[in-house]
């Protein structure tokens, strides 16, 4: 167990470092395409990691997280529209709005659970979507292009490389935090509350308060992903707030490994990777994507990460690195 744990931590660290090194390995020709693609993966990975806090740890199926992605995007787009360049102001708007709207929608939705929770979060996200669509002065349906990228005291997110590395840093920090959070009291409350909320109350904690806090934290992190996304695309569009995006985020988390530390990152990479590969072969890539998701789902509950764990433990076992007794744990 210990060894397997260390091994998976080692793999995650190597993987993340490798992603940081990719721009250096690419030749100039293919550079932009791949960097753009991986930057998108990194940003979705941040959003999926954020969703994993409520969905994976807390067991709350939020079908409205695209709302916060959209708030982050429009915080940049609207600031830019009014000529505000400061990234700090963009970040402040993002955090403040996600905090406020997260708190409001959270207060209404955390009171429910199951299907009702899904429907309420979905409803709030759709409200956000239609509000943006109806604001014709800000582009409405067509979206809003961004002239002023976020300028963090000299660090301007106007190139793919700058967004790439900032997204990488944010992702590494969030993944490391989730790693700590899982076994910290707050994470344990969420996990315990998912397993048996009544039991948590009977030892003295009010589960809902913690779920609400988790929802708000998750909203803010998702908003930060939106801020990066807006800078990457130089464009904010209401379609990124649609319920399809919320659904995609859920698929990423589940595909990668619900409630795990790096699962959502793997899920985001796999989802967007499969999309990218299949898209070049057929128009009906969605059907192939469905099959891929089905395959992972049938392989077990723990998603891609679960499959990798099983495989690696088998390999380690076969090569004799791990003894039989340790295997069984």
């Amino acid at each position: 167990m210990r060894f397997a744990m260390r091994f998976s931590v080692f793999c995650s660290v190597v993987g993340l470092l490798f992603i940081a090194a990719i721009p250096l390995l690419l030749d100039a020709e293919n550079n932009t395409f791949w960097m753009l693609f991986i930057a998108r993966v990194l940003i979705y990975a941040i959003a999926a990691t954020a969703l994993n806090i409520v969905l994976g740890l807390g067991g709350l199926v939020s079908l409205g997280h695209a709302l916060f992605l959209g708030i982050g995007m429009y915080s940049v787009a609207l600031s830019s529209y009014y000529g505000i360049e400061s990234g700090w102001v963009h970040l402040l708007f993002t955090c403040f709005l996600c905090l406020g709207i997260g708190l409001m929608t959270g207060l209404a939705s955390i009171r429910t659970s199951g299907i009702a929770f899904i429907m309420i979060t979905l409803a709030f996200a759709q409200m956000g979507y239609f509000v943006i669509v109806s604001l014709k002065q800000f582009g409405g349906d067509d979206g809003l292009s961004i002239a002023h990228h976020s300028d963090f005291s000299g660090l301007v997110l106007d190139s793919v490389a700058s967004v790439y590395y900032v997204a990488w840093l944010v992702l590494v920090a969030s993944v490391y935090w989730i790693f700590k959070l899982r076994s910290a009291p707050f994470g344990v409350v969420l996990r315990a509350g998912r397993l048996n909320p009544k039991r948590v109350m009977s030892v003295g904690l009010s589960v809902r308060h913690y779920q609400l806090a988790a929802y708000v934290i998750s909203a803010v992190l998702c908003g930060v992903a939106g801020l990066l996304m807006a800078n990457l695309n130089a464009y904010a569009s209401p379609s990124s707030m649609s319920w399809m995006v919320s659904g995609e985020l859920i698929v990423m988390v589940v595909l990668g490994g619900l409630g795990t530390v790096v699962g959502p990152v793997l899920g985001a990479g796999a989802y967007l990777g499969i999309e990218e590969v299949f898209k070049s072969y057929t128009e009906h890539w969605m059907a192939l994507l469905g099959l891929a998701i089905l395959a992972v789902a049938l392989a077990g509950k723990a998603g891609i990460l679960g499959v990798l764990r099983t495989l690696s433990s088998k390999c380690l076992h076969a090569s004799g690195v791990v003894g039989v007794t340790e295997q069984q744990k």
Partner: protein
């Protein structure tokens, strides 16, 4: 002796069905008070009202002299009124130790702690270890809870309740489904806890009840038929008729 938990005319109805009918009980500090009664007599419903999971339609619950009728489960637990469940409710995903440390932390502190591991809270770990020692689970503390056998899960359920530093324990059939050996362990445990905690014990195992209880209340159709010492209950004709007789018929 001082009363620790009292109820006044507690009543709970589901439609026309009166599940808890005007129950007034008075449990003294340090006492083990058992509630017995046939299936469907309303024992678990009563416990649920005492722990705060159900709200009574009428009547009051007093704990340590304070009216707690309107308090939530978590607030009552914080005040020291702690329950264990008839259906084992441990957190399968967590280790045995984590389960107990979590209970201990939850009853003492808030959990808005986002960084340090749960197991780095020394005071809570210490009280968890002593609860595990008491319940005889210390050897299994590293195991994930889902790997425990049924009896051990029942022991863990008790350890979690003990680790919350309770003043009063509401035990809902702690020995349900246990083997004779396992339930003997629990009887011994409860005996050793006697006087340190006040206990309301709901239990079907009559031997255990008569061995442990200071006083027994017999609940029939939501009503307290009689309250008395084990000897008084044994000698009571009415009780023999509705409860013990039934048992004897069932077992013969």
């Amino acid at each position: 002796m001082k009363s620790i938990l009292t109820t006044e005319r507690l009543t709970k109805k589901y439609g026309a069905l009166v599940v808890t009918d005007n129950i007034s009980i008075d449990i003294k500090q340090g006492e083990i008070h058992a509630i017995i009664g046939p299936n469907g007599a309303g024992k678990t419903t009563l416990i649920n009202q005492l722990s705060g999971e159900l709200e009574p339609q009428e009547g009051e619950v007093y704990f340590n002299g304070n009216n707690v009728t309107a308090l939530s489960i978590s607030k009552r637990a914080r005040a020291g009124l702690v329950r264990s469940y008839q259906i084992t409710s441990v957190f399968d995903e967590l280790s045995v130790l984590e389960n107990v440390v979590f209970s201990s932390l939850a009853s003492r502190k808030h959990a808005y702690r986002f960084w340090g591991s749960l197991l780095s809270y020394k005071q809570e770990v210490a009280s968890a270890l002593s609860a595990l020692e008491l319940t005889g689970l210390a050897a299994q503390m590293e195991l994930p809870a889902h790997q425990l056998g049924y009896g051990q899960r029942r022991q863990l359920e008790l350890a979690m309740a003990l680790a919350t530093n309770p003043k009063f324990l509401l035990l809902d059939e702690p020995m349900a489904g246990m083997s004779v050996q396992e339930s003997n362990v629990v009887v011994e445990l409860l005996r050793s806890l006697k006087r340190r905690y006040s206990v309301l014990l709901v239990e079907h195992d009559m031997n255990a009840v008569f061995e442990l209880a200071d006083r027994i209340s017999v609940l029939v159709y939501g009503r307290i038929l009689v309250t008395g010492t084990p000897d008084e209950i044994k000698a009571n004709e009415e009780v023999r008729a509705v409860y013990l007789g039934e048992e004897e018929v069932a077992t013969s």
